[in-house]
């Protein structure tokens, strides 16, 4: 039996207090800044209340950034899950245990890389003249130029491919481990009923893994919010504003172009409200 002890208090209270201070101070301060008109170049400021927010809703570049962010979120989450489930099931079906271990190690490598490194690796690879990834295209077409990062129609997908390269392969390993934890009996039973391989997975194993797969998708949705490094290195939001997500636009408003810190902060506050509400709601659904 555990006696009453001071341990939970001494272990928990300082940590939670520090976490609260470290998270609430910037959060509340972000709201304060958003209600002012601070600029990096000028020290003075006045309170402008909600005019930054009012400006945002008629700022077409902001509305574009919202749309790009939503596209980014959908493309990366869906593609990551498709790649992860596809490769996970394939490993489960055809790879012997030793080969599985090798694949697992290989598939974890990309996600460990700093996003900046991953972005550089692929920026070189996508170079239209000297890139290794565009080489097959040059070879087949006899030297035609394909520049995925500077075409508005392909840039977002080219950057997203790097995200999927990192997370899709990593999640494939997790899907495999999840499949390995399943009891073998239902799979055997389906086999005796002459179910095809893909049918077993579509109707037996994946439905059994519904809850962990949804959690996995939830994690990816959160991680996809952190697209800044990739986009900053690979396209800087370009060509034009084709890959300008919200954090990229907030950064360029606050730091590169005009130093409008308050305006950028207003954007960040809207993002914060949207993500906290969405993810709190989703988390409660996942837990229920």
């Amino acid at each position: 039996m555990r006696r009453r002890s001071s341990l939970p208090v001494t272990f928990l209270v300082p940590t939670l207090a520090i976490l609260l201070v470290l998270s609430m101070v910037p959060t509340l301060y972000a709201i304060v800044i958003a209600l002012q008109n601070r600029e990096l170049s000028a020290p003075g400021y006045t309170w402008v209340w909600f005019s930054n927010f009012a400006d945002l809703f008629v700022d077409r570049r902001f509305l574009n950034a919202v749309w790009v962010s939503v596209k980014w979120e959908i493309v990366t989450v869906v593609a990551t899950m498709v790649v992860a489930i596809g490769l996970g099931v394939l490993m489960f079906e055809v790879a012997a245990p030793r080969l599985r271990n090798i694949y697992c190690l290989l598939f974890i490598i990309p996600v460990l890389l700093p996003r900046v490194s991953a972005a550089f690796v692929w920026k070189f690879a996508y170079h239209p003249l000297y890139g290794i990834a565009t080489y097959p295209y040059r070879l087949i077409t006899g030297g035609l130029i394909f520049d995925p990062l500077s075409k508005a129609s392909t840039a977002l997908f080219a950057v997203a491919s790097v995200d999927v390269w990192q997370w899709g392969l990593f999640f494939a390993v997790i899907v495999l481990k999840l499949l390995e934890t399943l009891p073998p009996q239902p799979i055997e039973a389906a086999r005796l009923d002459h179910a095809k391989r893909w049918q077993i997975h579509a109707y037996v194993t994946l439905p059994m893994l519904k809850a962990p797969l949804i959690s996995l998708m939830f994690v990816k949705m959160i991680e996809s919010l952190r697209s800044f490094d990739l986009i900053y290195v690979m396209t800087r939001g370009g060509p034009g504003v084709a890959t300008e997500t919200l954090d990229m636009y907030a950064f360029s408003q606050g730091f590169i172009e005009s130093g409008k810190v308050s305006y950028a902060s207003a954007m960040a506050v809207l993002m914060m409200i949207a993500t906290v509400i969405t993810f709190t709601f989703l988390w409660k659904r996942v837990q229920a």
């Binding site: 910037p26 301060y29 490993m91 490194s117 550089f120 390269w165 954090d247 810190v261």
Partner: protein
């Protein structure tokens, strides 16, 4: 299980897997090769596999003051933040895991919700705050900011690790007259050590790879390695590609050192689930 005859479907599946494995590492290998090339061997329309290797890029990188400062800043900032995360996160995780109270669920959700905060939303106000107190562009500012990340991540991952320690072991220690604190130090920590190492390694990789906050909180003195590497590229084609590739390799090596620890961590998480 009955054996299956060789079928084209299986061959295609194996080919897809092999291709995926190749795609996982080849871009990195190619980057490492480019780090060993002279510029003439990189700027070619047909990729060159055979070339005369050079160490010039790597020695150039390691001789640059900016790179060495970045490396030093990264090591100090990430190392300190991880130590703070361990010192504060592990005890708190143990308390949540072993002394459940009615707030346990809320605490876990609070810790997770810190991950929902968009990095820009944290970085902009912090920049203004650090400017006002005169700590902008210093390592302490970066360490405090990163501690928020490391504490919450270590706590989040350590809770299941402590829950995985068999209760009977701890109960036996209590019967032997150990107090609550010695049970944590001498029993729970050593037994959970392997999973905890994974959690700590993960938090290190996370802050080592962090970019946006470091970019916003430093202007010259406190730049971390990712920032320095990204700046090299902004000089465009004036910087030989080999040097850029070498800096990418240097930046990527530390996280890859943890590959073994982290894949072991992954395995132990799922083994726990199975039993």
């Amino acid at each position: 299980m009955r054996p299956y005859p060789i079928r084209p479907g299986r061959l295609i599946a194996k080919a897809i897997l092999a291709l995926a494995g190749f795609l996982a590492v080849f871009p990195l290998v190619w980057t490492a090769l480019n780090a060993l090339k002279n510029n003439v061997d990189i700027i070619t329309r047909v990729p060159r596999l055979v070339f005369t290797p050079t160490l010039a890029n790597i020695s150039y990188i390691l001789g640059r003051d900016s790179v060495l400062t970045g490396l030093y800043n990264s090591v100090v900032a990430c190392g300190s933040a991880v130590l703070i995360g361990v010192a504060l996160g592990l005890p708190a995780a143990y308390a949540v895991a072993r002394y459940p109270n009615r707030f346990a669920g809320d605490i876990q959700f609070f810790v997770l919700s810190l991950r929902f905060l968009p990095p820009v939303a944290v970085a902009i106000p912090l920049m203004v705050i650090w400017l006002q107190v005169g700590l902008y562009d210093t390592l302490p500012a970066l360490i405090v900011t990163y501690s928020l990340l490391t504490i919450s991540v270590i706590m989040w991952l350590a809770i299941p690790a402590f829950q995985g320690v068999p209760k009977e072991v701890e109960e036996a220690a209590f019967v032997d007259g150990y107090g609550a604190y010695p049970v944590f130090w001498r029993i729970a920590l050593p037994v959970a050590a392997r999973s905890l190492a994974g959690a700590i390694a993960f938090s290190f990789v996370l802050v080592w790879n962090e970019f946006l906050i470091a970019l916003m909180l430093s202007s010259s003195n406190a730049k971390t390695l990712p920032i320095v590497a990204s700046e090299l590229s902004q000089q465009g084609m004036n910087v030989p590609w080999g040097i850029l590739n070498a800096s990418v390799v240097l930046l990527s090596l530390p996280p890859l050192l943890f590959l073994g620890v982290l894949s072991g961590f992954l395995n132990s998480v799922f083994r726990q689930k199975k039993t």
